[in-house]
């Protein structure tokens, strides 16, 4: 099954929970925010929801900074 996470394509097995996918990426769940198909997920939803075919995931966290020239 193919999904897109942070702009990159990933192949994941059927029935993979979002929280497991995040953990396998080496990320601590409590410091990040998840958008799934343009919707912000609650922490609960991350634990229970399964990734769907073609889904788009965005994993966002706080970083140092403010507006700056790119």
């Amino acid at each position: 099954m193919r999904i897109t996470c942070n702009g990159e394509e990933y192949t994941v097995e059927e029935g993979k929970r979002i929280s497991d996918f995040i953990q396998e990426l080496g990320l601590a769940a409590d410091t990040l925010v998840v958008e799934y198909n343009d919707r912000i997920l609650s922490k609960e939803e991350r634990e229970t929801m399964i990734l769907g075919e073609g889904a788009t995931l965005e994993l966002i966290r706080f970083v140092g900074g403010g507006s700056r020239s790119c």
Binding site: A28, L32, V33, L59, F62, V63, G64, S67
Partner: protein
């Protein structure tokens, strides 16, 4: 003591967290500044380097994280960032910044007002970053902003209080705290903003790019304190006519 949206702060110096050479430097500078309010941005996690979490070094019992919507080019993007910030569990405060032009980094007044309306409606505590436009400042207060953050000069220029006159008007007319934010390049600029009556200042670049950021952070803290003390002590007026400091009589022995 400074109060914004019912929350008190001992320090009137707010710090941004960008442009520091390392997480450790950022943390030391923040500690040296005495700041409690620090702004943070939201970005996609770099999956090539998942452990790179610069903010994890900061003690969140000591620093109050104010998420900003930096990077937003319009109200829609700003609102989306604000909602993401809130979903992280850190509270409902947001520094609203909408900067569509990467060359000037100036805030878009129309999109800022639009986003502020929406975010206030959604229950956020909104601190909007604006050009030093007194009318816009009043409109944002009417919309429910908890403070206003007018710029001294464009972000990163270190040019100081280019907008001093307009900031004076904003301060005079404001019903909410005024935080001068952006362009303050030296402690003297921060002191000047505080002497005008600003409630606080936000500094990032001037400290992060200083030769010794930790020392500069401490210098800014002193300046903010000095400026505020001067304001509260009641500054003497500027005069056209010189007037002697010493008595004019008792000089006959000299003549």
């Amino acid at each position: 003591m400074l109060t914004i949206a019912g929350r008190t702060f001992h320090s009137r110096l707010f710090l941004g967290t960008g442009k520091f050479s390392s997480a450790a430097m950022m943390n030391e500078a923040l500690l040296a500044s005495g700041a409690e309010m620090v702004t943070v941005a939201l970005r996609r996690i770099d999956l090539e380097d998942p452990q790179d979490d610069i903010m994890s070094i900061l003690d969140r019992t000591r620093f109050f994280f104010l998420p900003n919507t930096s990077g937003a080019r319009d109200a829609g993007e700003a609102v989306r960032l604000a909602r993401l910030a809130r979903a992280s569990g850190g509270g409902n405060w947001v520094k609203l910044e909408v900067t569509p032009d990467p060359r000037t980094l100036l805030p878009d007044p129309v999109e800022t007002l639009k986003a502020a309306d929406e975010l206030v409606r959604e229950g956020f505590i909104v601190l909007p970053y604006i050009n030093a436009d007194p009318i816009l400042s009043l409109r944002l207060q009417d919309a429910g902003a908890a403070a206003v953050m007018p710029l001294g000069a464009p972000i990163g220029t270190n040019k100081g209080l280019l907008t001093g006159y307009q900031i004076g008007i904003i301060i005079e007319q404001s019903r909410v705290p005024v935080v001068v934010d952006a362009g303050l390049g030296a402690p003297s600029h921060a002191a000047q903003a505080m002497e005008l009556g600003a409630d606080a200042v936000l500094v990032n670049t001037a400290i992060a790019v200083a030769g010794d950021p930790v020392r500069m952070a401490a210098a800014f803290a002193l300046a903010v304190q000095a400026g505020r003390d001067a304001y509260e002590a009641g500054l003497g007026e500027q005069r056209e006519e010189p007037s002697a400091s010493s008595p004019r009589d008792g000089l006959d022995f000299l003549r």
